[in-house]
């Protein structure tokens, strides 16, 4: 009992000095997407696992929508999709559970055709190799079931099937042309990828033909600084007592001066007395 109490007391300062970052602060990220071409708009709910009150509700999420990332505590969550406007307590059309690890990001996307709709959990990369950008492709076109995607001269994916995701590829940063080719033809669009960023290219069914949306998933910096900063001169810092040497020197010099003056006076007096 005593031991437990002292351990608790000792544990408190240790916990208070724990340091930050999403990983060490115990947070991760999650985003929600609707990538099923023939599925009508849905309401998407995010629940902390076992809690029936939704943390986040996105209303009327239509095909092609990808939400921004939400920062959440690491742990277990569930995602449910209901028809747009359906009661929050109604039976969901689909639901799945997702485990968020600290410092990691996830996309939970409704994928596939409406008849085979599923919620897929994607592990999202945050870190690009130094000086490069990282890119992957989500194939969400039902009109063109198989596509080839190139970025500049780099083939990102060949024979990529509907409702599948390519692996990430590191590319040189810069402005480039994305080319999506399929049996229906070729579509070009331009993207700019900065060093230190991670992107997802989503191939979608457009009003006429294919569309490519470039998502910036994460960004660090091309040249992260080394170490901390030197931003203080100490003007407001507590100071110890200054050196006594100047004051002692002043006292010494004063004593010498006073002594000399005093001796002179005395000699003068003796001279006068002697006349």
């Amino acid at each position: 009992m005593l031991l437990a109490a002292s351990a608790l007391l000792l544990g408190i300062p240790a916990a208070a000095t724990a340091y930050a970052s999403s990983a060490t602060m115990g947070t991760g990220w999650i985003r929600l997407a609707h990538l099923s071409p023939n599925t009508p708009a849905v309401d998407v709910y995010l629940y902390s696992f076992g809690n029936s009150n939704a943390m986040i509700v996105l209303h009327h999420v239509a095909y092609g929508t990808v939400s921004p990332y939400e920062s959440v505590q690491a742990g277990d969550y569930s995602v449910a999709m209901r028809a747009a406007g359906a009661s929050a307590t109604s039976q969901p059309v689909l639901s799945t559970s997702v485990t968020v690890s600290a410092g990691h990001a996830y996309t939970v996307a409704g994928m596939g055709p409406e008849s085979g709709l599923r919620l897929q959990i994607l592990d999202d990369e945050l870190t690009a190799p130094p000086g490069q950008a990282l890119v992957r492709v989500i194939q969400a076109s039902l009109k063109e079931q198989v596509v080839k995607v190139t970025l500049g001269s780099t083939v990102l994916a060949d024979g990529l099937k509907f409702a599948s995701v390519s692996s990430y590829q590191a590319v040189s940063p810069g402005a480039m042309t994305v080319t999506v080719s399929s049996s229906g033809g070729t579509v070009n669009s331009s993207v700019t990828l900065a060093a230190g960023t991670v992107h997802t290219l989503v191939v979608l069914d457009g009003a006429s033909g294919l569309e490519v949306v470039s998502l910036e998933d994460a960004s660090g910096m091309g040249e992260p600084p080394l170490g901390g900063v030197s931003t203080g001169f100490g003007g407001t810092a507590p100071h110890g007592p200054g050196s006594p040497v100047p004051w002692l020197a002043a006292i010494g010099a004063g004593s010498l001066l006073a002594l000399t003056g005093g001796l002179r006076l005395r000699r003068n007096r003796q001279l006068h007395a002697g006349v």
Binding site: Y69, S230, G242
Partner: protein, 211 residues
């Protein structure tokens, strides 16, 4: 030699004055001076700035974000222009040449764009408080505002305030990639080493854009 008498008397008097001054100085400086105390939180609170708040970019339709021009932290009375900073020849962050303004590292994302935007300011000068003197008073939930060149405002919420020894600075935590618009405010803190003229620690405020 009567003509020497005033000079001798003057020397005696001056000597006594110097002794008195030296003794007073010695006694008065025997006590350490405490750190300057920040004024009570909220006393210098500024009104939150106004301007159109542009929602964080939907990743499906990223909007370009204008460069930052000023920083306001109402709770701790910070209102400063933002200068631009690069890296030194050794790869460390440059710091503002004056202690009264903060600066944004141009190699980091613009505040409000995805990623960690880096803003640096001094805690003090040789003689008094600098622009980030009260940074360590911030707490989770406090608001930070960045105004941009196009007049738009980005609002951030403090998520964490940390103190790190400079020789254990967690580069990856502070500068590493994130998938949402975040801010890092950095200054000095901890103990001051009078021998080297540097503080031993850095204070880092982590903040996330309010969606």
């Amino acid at each position: 030699m009567p003509t020497r008498r005033p000079a001798a008397a003057l020397a005696l008097a001056a000597g006594l004055v110097v002794i008195a001054g030296g003794t007073a100085g010695l006694l008065l400086t025997r006590h350490p001076t405490p750190a300057m105390r920040p004024v009570a939180a909220g006393v210098a609170a500024l009104p939150a700035p106004t301007g159109p708040i542009v929602a964080p970019p939907q990743s499906a339709a990223p909007t370009p974000v204008a460069a930052p021009v000023s920083l306001t932290i109402p709770l701790i009375g910070v209102q400063t222009q933002l200068i631009t900073l690069g890296l030194t020849s050794t790869g460390a962050l440059q710091v503002p040449s004056t202690t009264s303004v903060a600066g944004w590292y141009t190699g980091s994302p613009r505040p409000g764009a995805i990623g960690p935007a880096i803003i640096v300011g001094h805690i003090d000068s040789l003689t008094g408080p600098g622009v980030f003197y009260r940074l360590s008073e911030l707490k989770a939930g406090d608001r930070v505002y960045v105004k941009r060149a196009d007049g738009t405002l980005a609002e951030f919420r403090v998520t964490s305030v940390q103190t790190y020894l400079k020789d254990q600075f967690p580069t990856e935590d502070v500068y590493g990639p994130v998938p949402d618009p975040e801010l890092r405010l950095i200054t000095c803190g901890g103990a001051f080493d009078a021998a080297t003229g540097h503080y031993l620690s850095n204070i880092v405020v982590y903040a996330t854009e309010v969606g």
